[in-house]
């Protein structure tokens, strides 16, 4: 078992003429909160999809705790300990909140269909355990009392939390969060940041997130990688990334670095004055 939870070597994903992910190398240590940022269309979600198994990269390999996982099906990889949430929430709309979380534990349970039919003691025990577990996670994300709401009837913020609960329920080693604070106001973003920190500290999970909200990214990440047009253009701590000229130009366009510096100077001058 290595110290890196995820290691990608020269991973490329090509769609016909478009190279969405171009030779990306990542080394993500266990227990870290790692952010992948970049302008829209940079290939971040595609990279996530490669890690979670939805896509198979054309080149390169992806190692999860030292074992290659590229090419395997999504459910296989999920069973090995990777969960994810989605940019546009993908809950099971017509299932209740509790049921959603119970599906989340699917890989942890072992009963088969015949167990269900004959209602073996193992089945009953496991069903009860699943139910209790689901209630635990429900309360953990703060949705006490909403267990029997259909997922589609929950307000947006709660749906996000439910998706997190579902991802946590399988007790993964790694969670991929795709824009967890999308659509949230600053207060909710702060709460989410605290929540993510807690997942890492209390539950000892590793987290990779895609984010556009820079305060969140800079606030909780240990390390950041920046993608632009599928290529990794920078990697480092939040401070290093903030100062990196190439990154600024990727977001603001050519000449952006100079522009940023000008505003920084102006602000410094104002502070001094």
């Amino acid at each position: 078992m290595t110290d890196l939870i995820i290691q990608t070597n020269h991973v490329s994903k090509i769609f016909g003429g478009l190279t969405a992910v171009n030779q990306v190398d990542l080394e993500i240590p266990r227990g870290s909160i790692y952010a992948i940022i970049g302008p829209n269309g940079a290939g971040k979600t595609t990279l996530f999809n490669c890690i979670s198994g939805f896509y198979t990269p054309e080149h390169g390999e992806i190692l999860f705790q030292g074992y290659p996982i590229q090419g395997f099906t999504t459910d296989f990889i999920a069973g090995r300990g990777i969960s994810r949430t989605y940019q546009n929430i993908r809950l099971f709309s017509n299932l209740t909140a509790v049921e959603n979380i119970m599906v989340g534990q699917h890989t942890n349970l072992e009963t088969a269909w015949w167990d269900a039919i004959i209602s073996s003691p193992r089945y009953r025990r496991e069903n009860q355990k699943a139910r209790d577990n689901a209630m635990h996670w429900l309360n953990f994300v703060g949705l006490n009392g909403y267990g029997d709401f259909l997922a589609c009837n929950l307000p947006y913020g709660m749906q996000r939390r439910l998706e997190l609960a579902r991802a946590l329920a399988s007790d993964p080693a790694l969670i991929l969060l795709d824009e967890p604070t999308a659509g949230m106001n600053p207060q909710e973003s702060e709460e989410m940041m605290a929540f993510i920190r807690m997942i890492r500290e209390k539950l000892e999970k590793s987290i990779i997130l895609i984010e556009h909200d820079m305060r969140v990214v800079m606030g909780i990440s240990d390390k950041i990688s920046v993608l632009d047009y599928g290529t990794k253009i920078a990697e480092g701590s939040p401070k290093e990334i903030q100062a990196n000229e190439r990154v600024i130009e990727a977001y603001l366009g050519p000449g952006g670095a100079a522009l940023a510096k000008k505003y920084q100077n102006r602000r410094r001058n104002k502070q001094d004055a």
Binding site: I5, Q65, Y67, G79, R80, P172, A173, L203, K205
Partner: protein
């Protein structure tokens, strides 16, 4: 909490990737063997047989194409299988039948022939009227079908309109049954174009019949298909149809009247179905209330074959299906009873090996 790594690494076998080519190779080998048998070993069919089969294959293929286009148009724009389309064809067949009956009943006595009927005196006109009325009736049925059974369900999950379509199919079949009785009817072709008459080609010293009805069907189908392609590619309505097929809401925001466009699509699809129906009636003759059902399913097969949503694909798929259905049983040495099996077997095979159809599907919606 420890992470879950089940080591040593479990090797995942994708059986499909292994089995599929093997199975495909086996089936292909079997087919080749049978073809070899029929063509080379026994060689009991001279070229005249094949030409004759090819001709009927082309003819039935043309009819399937027209019906298939109807399916593909509706699927492309609404993402639903219009299960009742076969019945729309059937009603067109009945309409044409009644026109010819009337034409045969109206007397226009001339000096030469005191018992001359309208149909024989003015065959071209009769046929023209039959087509107009047939296409009109089918188009109207298609229009009301959409308005009553499909429009209220536009936002519903896919299964619901499908069930509604099945219901509509039942309704139309039974309305025809109740209105017109179960009596089997036969098209009363104008004498000039009687069923079975045709030019005689001599191949291999035997006469091969090239039926007048068949040639007429082929020519008219090609004309209609070209007209449709022109409509879809070069007219405003066609553009609107393509836009609505791609993104209904955005099309509405751009000022396209989505309801009108969809209704027009059903009108066109119905008209083509009606034309196909009259052709079928002229060429095959039989008219009964479930006559549209099996051709309907087969035509949908053809549409999927060519890539559902893809108009040239539907045309190709229809022709392909017609030819295979006609030539296939004889070529493979199988009984003629099983020609429907061939159609469905091909469908299943294509969908297993190339799910997007021959020309690739042109789909409207997000892929889940």
């Amino acid at each position: 909490m420890t992470a879950k790594v089940k080591s040593p690494q479990v090797k995942q076998r994708d059986l499909g990737k292994i089995i599929r080519p093997i199975f495909g190779a086996l089936v292909a080998a079997y087919i080749l063997w049978r073809l070899y048998n029929v063509f080379i070993v026994e060689a009991k069919y001279g070229p005249q047989v094949w030409v004759s089969l090819l001709i009927s294959g082309l003819i039935i293929g043309a009819v399937y194409s027209l019906i298939a286009i109807g399916y593909t148009l509706v699927y492309g724009i609404l993402l639903m299988i219009n299960f009742a389309h076969g019945e729309v064809v059937m009603l067109g067949i009945y309409a044409g039948y009644f026109v010819f009956e009337a034409a045969k009943a109206i007397q226009v006595p001339s000096s030469l022939n005191p018992e001359l009927v309208f149909a024989d005196a003015y065959p071209a006109l009769s046929i023209f009227i039959a087509f107009i009325i047939g296409m009109g009736v089918s188009a109207t049925v298609g229009f009301f079908l959409e308005k009553i059974a499909y429009r209220p369900l536009r936002k519903a999950p896919r299964l619901i309109p499908l069930i509604s379509a099945i219901g509509a199919s039942l309704v139309l079949q039974n309305v025809a049954l109740l209105l017109f009785s179960p009596q089997l009817r036969n098209y009363n072709n104008p004498t000039v174009m009687a069923r079975g008459n045709g030019w005689k080609m001599i191949i291999n010293e035997t006469p091969v019949n090239v039926p007048y009805t068949g040639v007429f069907t082929l020519i008219l189908s090609v004309v209609l298909m070209l007209a449709l392609l022109y409509l879809v590619r070069n007219t405003r309505l066609g553009k609107a149809m393509r836009a609505v097929a791609l993104d209904k809401d955005t099309a509405a925001l751009m000022g396209i009247n989505v309801n009108h466009t969809i209704s027009s699509t059903f009108l066109i699809s119905g008209a083509l179905a009606g034309a196909a129906g009259v052709m079928w009636g002229l060429h095959n003759g039989q008219v009964f209330n479930t006559v549209g059902f099996i051709p309907g399913i087969k035509a949908f097969t053809a549409a999927v074959l060519g890539g559902i949503g893809n108009i040239p694909g539907a045309m190709l798929g229809g022709m392909f299906l017609g030819l295979v259905e006609s030539v296939g049983p004889t070529a493979l040495g199988i009984s003629f009873q099983l020609k429907d099996v061939i159609a469905f077997a091909i469908l299943i095979a294509i969908l297993i090996f190339k799910p997007s159809g021959i020309l690739g599907e042109v789909l409207a919606e997000e892929k889940v």
